[in-house]
């Protein structure tokens, strides 16, 4: 069974979001997504300062067999990225909700179309 923490929000593209106190949004991929991808062996992160529209491909996580796009869950500017993933992409598998976070975004719009943990559990059931 995949872990789905109650305190996070989710997208249908299997990303999780957490709202920081300063209004920025931290983004990563869910336990279900990392399990489906299997060993993440390479991560291409966005540049800090770059801007994305909601739904744009902002990062790529690659397993041995496949490359998967990570879509911006909200429009905004990249504030920081988890550079540890460059050396240790396996953090996404080992700790998808914590050490495996990918980027923080300063949103330029309201957060919309997100799932709560119950709805996300239903989606992957």
């Amino acid at each position: 069974m995949s872990e789905v923490p109650d305190n996070l929000s989710y997208t249908k593209e299997h990303e999780w979001l957490s709202l920081d106190d300063d209004g920025n949004v931290k983004v990563g991929i869910t336990d279900h997504a990392q399990d489906a991808l299997s060993d993440v062996v390479f991560v291409e992160l966005p540049e800090v300062g770059s801007s994305f529209s909601k739904g744009d491909s902002m990062a790529i996580a690659e397993s041995v067999k496949a490359a998967s796009d990570i879509y911006a869950p909200v429009s905004g500017k990249i504030i920081s990225v988890n550079t540890k993933l460059e050396e240790s992409p396996e953090l996404i598998n080992e700790s998808p909700y914590d050490f495996g976070w990918m980027a923080t975004i300063e949103p330029t719009e309201e957060l919309e179309d997100l799932l709560n943990s119950d709805s996300y559990r239903e989606l992957i059931a």
Binding site: S38, D39, V41, F42, E44, V64, A67
Partner: protein, 344 residues
């Protein structure tokens, strides 16, 4: 076309395997993870269900002459109990398939074609057998093949069947053939026999500690050793010379494709070369290869090497070993160079 399953399909599912279509078969691509399965074979022992591969039997007084004619190797040089890797070529010298020929006895041989090429190879052999006193039988649907690979595999084989087998040799126990062959570059064997026996072999070897390995790790293991993947590194339009496998050719005998190869030899032609990527990133089949800014080729194979933790690939190139190249991945150029194979 409906997908086919080996008798071990339910075992694979119970082990949590992810299943993919491969040449019309529902096969396990991985059980746990490609990286851990790859390591299990390099460090210990892994077991692969490769029952989708073919078994074609050739018998009769002119079997040696026939097989020498339809393959790149002179089977007069083989002794009973030998296994030989060689190519089956068309008249143009292009590889129809690569196969291992098993000398079971002086007039009884077995070939192991790739799953996607079984009927093509069988039809080709049948068509070319008319001048020879031989009989061909395609028993691919009645035989299993398990590969037991890795440094611990001979210990497990000894425990399981109380036997041992040398590299590229075979032993026969009843209807079961055990050969010192594989597709990983590690010590190991392949066990081939009637389908009804596959579950027993699988269950006891897994119980003894052989780790189930999927097709994902099979691909990374073979690529690190520079072994060809049928249908990908050759697709019916490349000669053995271009694949840089001239060591499988015995020029001192007549075989289909020989004349074309002799003409081909006079030309300058690109050869299948290893590419090792120095930048971080993963290369995939189809990615374009550049030299001095010009597009020169595309990758036939490409992956992360789990052992080297670097991108490795194969491409047909007219470049010397050591030449710097780049491989384009999503618009970025990753730096690498042409290297001698095997990678590992």
């Amino acid at each position: 076309m409906t997908s086919r399953r080996t008798p071990l399909f339910s075992h694979h599912k119970e082990l949590g395997a992810k299943i993919v279509d491969f040449a019309g078969w529902e096969m396990p691509i991985q059980y746990t993870s490609i990286l851990s399965e790859h390591k299990a074979v390099r460090d210990g022992a892994g077991i692969f269900d490769v029952s989708h591969m073919g078994q074609i039997f050739v018998k009769g007084p002119e079997t040696i002459d026939f097989l020498s004619y339809v393959t790149t190797w002179d089977m007069n040089r083989q002794k009973k109990g030998d296994c030989r890797y060689c190519h089956i070529l068309d008249e143009r010298g292009c590889i129809i398939d690569d196969t291992i020929v098993y000398t079971i006895s002086e007039d009884s041989y077995m070939l192991i074609p790739n799953a996607s090429k079984i009927s093509k190879v069988f039809d080709w052999l049948s068509k070319n057998s008319e001048k020879f006193e031989v009989s061909l039988e395609n028993l691919s649907d009645e035989y299993f093949c398990l590969a037991l690979q890795g440094p611990d595999s001979s210990r497990l084989l000894g425990q399981h069947l109380n036997t041992s087998v040398g590299s590229f040799q075979l032993v026969k126990i009843g209807d079961t053939i055990i050969s010192g062959t594989g597709y990983t570059g590690e010590k190991g064997c392949e066990i081939i026999g009637p389908l009804s026996e596959v579950v027993n072999h699988w269950e006891s070897l897994v119980e003894m500690g052989a780790i189930p390995i999927g097709l994902g790790a099979r691909d990374t293991l073979r690529l690190e050793k520079g072994y060809l993947l049928s249908g990908q590194d050759f697709d019916g339009n490349q000669t053995t010379l271009e694949a840089d496998y001239s060591w499988v050719i015995d020029w001192n005998h007549d075989f289909i494709g020989k004349e074309a190869l002799m003409d081909f030899q006079k030309k300058r032609y690109p050869k299948l070369r290893g590419i090792l990527i120095e930048d971080r990133g993963i290369i995939r089949p189809g990615n374009l290869v550049f030299n001095n800014g010009s597009k020169i080729s595309s990758l036939t194979s490409g992956s992360l090497s789990p052992s080297l933790r670097k991108g490795i690939g194969l491409a047909y190139l007219d470049l010397d070993i050591g030449t710097p190249i780049t491989v384009e991945v999503r618009g970025n150029h990753l730096n690498g160079r042409v290297v001698r194979m095997p990678f590992l």
